[in-house]
Amino acid sequence: MLQYLTYFALSMFVGREVISKVPQTLHTPLMSGSNAISGITVVGALVAAGMTEEPWARYLGLAALIAATINVVGGFLVTDRMLQMFRKKPIQR
């Protein structure tokens, strides 16, 4: 448990260092992108649903898997859609 707390605390510090330098211009993509990263719970869902024979635990895990995948796939795609619009030179139409 203590080992996990160490990982947690150190990651908070790394996150703070990396993210406090993100400019205001990119705060919306930062939010949707980091939100997609929080969908890492999908890994937990795979473990929970895939490694048990308990039926209700499997259904809970499967529901979690779908919700988390929506979060991950939607989050990364919509962030990409936003970021491709950020251009230095306007597109000539």
Binding site: Y4, F8, S11, M12, V14, G15, V18, I19, P23, Q24, T25, L26, H27, T28, P29, M31, G33, S34, N35, A36, I37, S38, G39, I40, T41, V42, V43, G44, A45, L46, V47, A48, A49, G50, M51, T52, E53, A57, R58, L60, G61, L62, A63, L65, I66, A67, A68, T69, I70, N71, G74, G75, F76, L77, V78, D80, M82, L83, M85, R87
Partner: protein, 466 residues
């Protein structure tokens, strides 16, 4: 495959997340950063799927495909103006997933520390879920944006909190007593999930629509913390590290938003601040016994056409009127005439942090024309005309000098220092803070009343005719 292989894949995924976030520090590298993070996620999923002995791989892949398709459709269909509510909704799904995963672990849980981490994960996850969906409703207009308060709200909040804490204790009470059917932990978790769901609703309902940027940033942080808590339950380092990264990110953004509004987080969360002005009834003219100068589109067009330098200040009203494309067209016309045009973006402009920048990027405005508050504030005194489109409180000079004003001390754009200011607004109604804007009564300010989109369209026509 071995446990070490999976751990190695998780380490690589975490590294990709950090490098990806790091690349978000510049618009030029941001897109590749997001793609790197997505690769990291894919790696973590594939390693889990094939590295562990998954009993039902087909079912798992089906789940991934279903979720992926829903995510794909939502991400493709969304309008850029609707981005805040989509982020809130995705956030809600993430929180729900974390809570469900933790709940699924309760049967096999041994020892009170494990149950405690499960309960923490369920509370944060469920609050994130219901809170995010209330925020989604408020941002999309499905629920009133006004702060909602009712008799006994505080008492109900206290009661639900009490039930939450009690059910946490209940869940921890006897995980060992498996002999008598289901252990109390399961019932405890069920009650806890319900109470947390209500708690999330009660938490967001009293907060006004314009404070949603803070709420969405905070819930973003919660969804990360929920994932991290679930990581503690499963002993999964990928969840702990990634969850902590997102938790930190959300907290930083929450703090930035609060500073930009000069309010404490507590003040935002208590709620009830401000009523969103119903802009429909036009009441231009006199206020506080002083008069404002009203101008017309053709006068403003002449003023703009013969200026050397123009700053455009877009605000919430521009996002609501969806006038970003018209504003860009106007700026293009002026630039063709040799006018220097810059955009000044206040940190809380739009409906979520950085939302205005996305809207202007969508309208094809190059990002190097967008300036943050601190970068442009000393340029207003050398600016001929400042065009304020749908912004209010963030340009009120009272924040600088009037100690009695509720917005005193809030960082603002110094529009009053420019040689002339033209404010595009529907009416004289005060902004979100409820105070009248001193800028409107200044000698060098002109008001151009009307819907932002209509006014800017009229300006385009007039500038073309100059």
């Amino acid at each position: 495959m071995s446990r070490e292989f999976i751990e190695l894949a998780y380490l690589l995924a975490a590294a990709l997340f950090i490098v990806g976030l790091k690349r978000l520090q510049s618009p030029a590298t941001a897109r590749s950063g997001n793609q790197l993070a997505a690769v990291g996620m894919l790696l973590a999923i594939v390693a889990t799927l094939f590295g562990q002995e998954i009993l039902s791989p087909v079912e798992m892949i089906a789940g991934l495909v279903v979720g992926g398709l829903v995510g794909l459709i939502l991400a493709r269909r969304v309008q850029m103006t609707a981005m805040p509510e989509l982020v809130a909704a995705f956030n809600g799904f993430g929180g729900l997933a974390s809570a469900l995963v933790a709940s699924a672990e309760v049967m096999g849980a041994i020892g009170w520390t494990t149950i405690l981490t499960i309960t923490i994960s369920v509370v944060i996850g469920m609050v994130t879920f219901s809170g995010s969906f209330v925020a989604f409703g408020k941002l999309s207009g499905k629920i009133s944006g006004n702060p909602i308060s009712f008799l006994g709200q505080r008492a109900l909040m206290a009661l639900v909190t009490l039930v939450t804490v009690a059910s946490m204790a209940w869940a921890m009470a006897g995980p060992e007593s498996l002999s008598a059917g289901l252990p109390p932990a399961v019932f405890g978790i069920l009650v806890l999930a319900g109470a947390s769901l209500v708690l999330g609703i009660l938490f967001v309902v009293p907060i006004g629509g314009a404070d949603m940027p803070v709420v969405v940033a905070l819930l973003n942080s919660f969804s990360g913390l929920a994932a991290a808590a679930t990581g503690f339950v499963l002993g999964n380092t990928a969840l702990i590290v990634s969850g902590a990264l997102v938790g930190a990110s959300g907290l930083i953004l929450t703090n930035i938003m609060c500073v930009a509004m000069n309010r404490s987080l507590l003040n935002v969360l208590i709620g009830g601040f401000g009523q969103e002005a119903d802009d429909s009834s036009p009441a231009p003219g006199l206020s506080e016994g002083r008069s404002v100068a009203v101008t017309s589109a053709d006068d403003t067009a002449i003023l703009l056409s013969y200026a050397e330098k123009v700053i455009i200040v877009p605000g919430y009203g521009l996002a609501v009127a969806q006038a970003q494309h018209q504003v860009r067209e106007l700026a293009d016309l002026l630039q063709k005439r040799g006018v220097e045009v810059k955009y000044a973006i206040h940190p809380v402009a739009g409906r979520m942090p950085g939302h205005m920048n996305v809207l202007l990027a969508e309208a094809n405005v190059p990002y190097d024309q967008l300036y943050e508050m601190d970068a442009i504030n000393n340029e207003f005194d050398t600016t001929d005309v400042t065009l304020v489109v749908g912004a209010n409180d963030v340009v009120n000079p009272a924040a600088r000098y009037d100690k009695t004003s509720p917005i005193y001390g809030m960082p603002i754009l110094n529009v009053d220092q420019s040689r002339a200011a033209v404010v595009l607004k529907r009416s004289m109604r005060p902004g979100y803070s409820g105070v009248q804007n001193q800028l409107f009564f200044a000698a060098n300010t002109r008001m151009l009343f009307g819907d932002a989109k209509d006014s800017v369209t009229a300006l385009i026509t007039e500038v073309k005719a100059v």
